[in-house]
């Protein structure tokens, strides 16, 4: 009896959300969101949307380009590493489930959970914006939300791939962040387009500067980031289907 895609999804979803959404998890999310809101409140000036101490530049540079990618990567990689541990691998992957199908379902389940998780800090930031009377907050919120959703999708897929490759996924993440996001992404040439955060910043440019110089349309950015996510996931699925799931056991 080989599981269908729907039963694989059902199994992966149940294994994912039940483990993620424990009460302790929500406490951590609430605490981190409160801290983020406090930081934003302390930095952003009243009624200022753009320029120095403006709300949208702060959200773009600090939240969307720095904190969100880091946490999305770590959560994605952590979820995959959890599944490679004995607590799941010995039970899940000794079943007739196709590994690529499982990995994709697992990623979708994790992504759904992560998108819902990050709604809390997003709402906290909007609340700060509202309390600071930021002009254009209502109009800018959908674009900010799209940027958040795409960043989570791209970096969690990258996290999945790195965690499938090695337990030292943080090293790969750091090298990538230094070389591509902080390095190439900031060089004013066409090469900086390979930086994911650069793409997202380009999409958010109309919010950050009134002229919206160098802006990239939301549709193009969405397509590029979704393509990137799909490519990362496809490579992860290929690697995962060839990967042995246990190192030397204690009782070899």
């Amino acid at each position: 009896m080989k599981p269908s895609l729907s039963s694989t999804w059902g199994g992966a979803w149940r294994l994912t959300y039940r483990r993620l959404w424990a009460p302790k998890h929500w406490l951590v999310i609430a605490g981190a969101s409160a801290l983020l809101a406090l930081l934003c409140h302390a930095t952003v000036r009243e009624g200022r949307a753009v320029g120095g101490h403006g709300f949208f530049p702060w959200v773009t540079d600090t939240y969307v380009s720095l904190l969100l990618p880091i946490f999305a990567f770590i959560f994605g990689a952590g979820a995959m590493r959890d599944d490679l541990g004995a607590g799941v691998a010995d039970y899940a992957f000794t079943r007739p489930v196709s590994r690529p199908a499982y990995l994709i379902c697992k990623h979708l389940a994790h992504l759904a959970c992560a998108q819902l998780d990050f709604l809390v800090p997003f709402a906290a930031l909007l609340a700060v914006g509202a309390s600071r009377h930021i002009p254009g907050l209502g109009a800018g919120a959908p674009l900010l939300f799209l940027a958040q959703a795409l960043t989570i999708a791209a970096f969690s897929a990258f996290g999945f791939l790195c965690a499938t490759l090695t337990s030292r996924y943080v090293v790969i993440g750091l090298v990538y962040a230094a070389a591509v996001e902080a390095g190439l992404g900031n060089i004013p040439t066409e090469l900086n387009r390979i930086s994911l955060t650069h793409q997202v910043r380009g999409m958010l440019a109309p919010l950050v500067s009134p002229a919206g110089a160098g802006a990239q349309g939301p549709l193009a950015t969405t397509l590029q980031l979704l393509l990137w996510s799909a490519a990362m996931l496809a490579v992860a699925a290929i690697v995962f289907s060839r990967r042995e799931l246990a190192g030397p056991p204690r009782d070899a």
Binding site: R14, R18, A246, A252
Partner: protein, 309 residues
């Protein structure tokens, strides 16, 4: 009866580390015990059988196919690992439903099977929703066995499943396995509790240092299979009095007393004589006895035997 598992010159190395070294064996339907000291290669064998790792060399067939990346073969197998790790945040029912769905059951069928298997392993319903991590070790072992039975596999592979179970729990567990075997499911089981294996298994596979020194039946039983252990340990109120009684009955070849643990170990001149009249002799001795256990079972002897060059 045709073999369900066939291995020929099977080896598995982890770099310089030896897992299994050129073993050839077959497993017939029924309950087969996999015996060996720590590091013998039991877990490596189980991981090969369940398709988690690939052989380094040689061939392995489970129901006629290599299980590595082979869902059709994996659908006929179930595995209960030795490790204590279970997912946090999930209760037994939720966990089994998820695993049932990964085995190909619909959500509804998985829920029904989860309840049926938890019932089968005698886990009380009040524990079905508690987080797995909050259950006792014995209860977790039952849930781990239940997850094996979800998709009604043809071969169940159990790595030290009796760890953490009390004697009654082990008896229940053994009964579940016997019932499974009676219904046509084959079982491959490793355990350090050799008495339990001896009571359960019809065949044995003995591993040592990644090799099969010899078939367990050959190693253990040169000629007729001895029915009773050669030596027995008694934990009792007065080991000295009990020793004197057995000496007077002419049953003792040698004995040893541990006063701290109030334990008497006796090597019998004729084990048959003692075990045939077991109850009467112990009652006649008049010594309150707390525990009786064999100290050197045939399997233990096989494990301790010097390796074949």
């Amino acid at each position: 009866m045709s073999a369900i598992v066939e291995a020929e010159n099977l080896s598995r190395f982890y770099g310089m580390y030896l897992g299994l070294n050129n073993v050839t064996f077959s497993v017939r339907p029924g309950i087969t015990g996999v015996v060996g000291p720590n590091g013998a290669g039991k877990t490596t064998l189980f991981r090969l059988l369940t398709g988690q790792i690939r052989p380094s060399s040689g061939s392995l067939k489970v129901f006629g196919a290599l299980p590595w990346n082979h869902p059709e073969t994996q659908a006929k197998l179930a595995y209960c690992p030795e490790g204590e790790a279970v997912p946090a945040g999930l209760g037994p029912t939720d966990w089994l439903v998820a695993l049932g769905m990964l085995s190909g059951l619909s959500a509804r069928a998985a829920r029904e099977r989860a309840r049926a298997t938890l019932d089968q392993v005698k886990l009380a319903p009040e524990h079905w929703s508690k987080p797995l991590t909050k259950l006792s070790k014995g209860m977790r072992q039952r849930v781990k066995l239940a997850q094996c039975l979800l998709h009604e596999p043809k071969l169940v592979i159990l790595d030290e499943p009796m760890n953490g179970l009390d004697p009654m729990g082990r008896e229940d567990f053994g009964n579940v396995l016997r019932a499974l075997a009676g219904a046509g499911t084959s079982i491959l089981i490793s355990s350090h509790i050799l008495q339990d294996l001896e009571a359960l298994c019809g065949d044995f596979l003995l591993l040592r240092w990644g090799r099969i020194p010899r078939a367990a039946s050959d190693a253990v039983l040169p000629g007729a299979k001895p029915r009773w252990p050669d030596a027995t340990a008694f934990r009792c109120e007065s080991p000295e009095r009990l020793a004197r009684f057995f000496f007077d009955a002419g049953l003792v070849r040698g004995c040893e007393i541990s006063p701290e643990t109030r334990t008497l170990q006796i090597r019998w001149t004729d084990p048959d004589r003692f075990y045939q009249s077991f109850h009467r002799l112990l009652l006649d001795s008049g010594v309150p006895i707390f525990e009786v256990r064999p100290t050197a079972s045939p399997l233990e002897k096989a494990i301790d035997a010097p390796p074949v060059p």
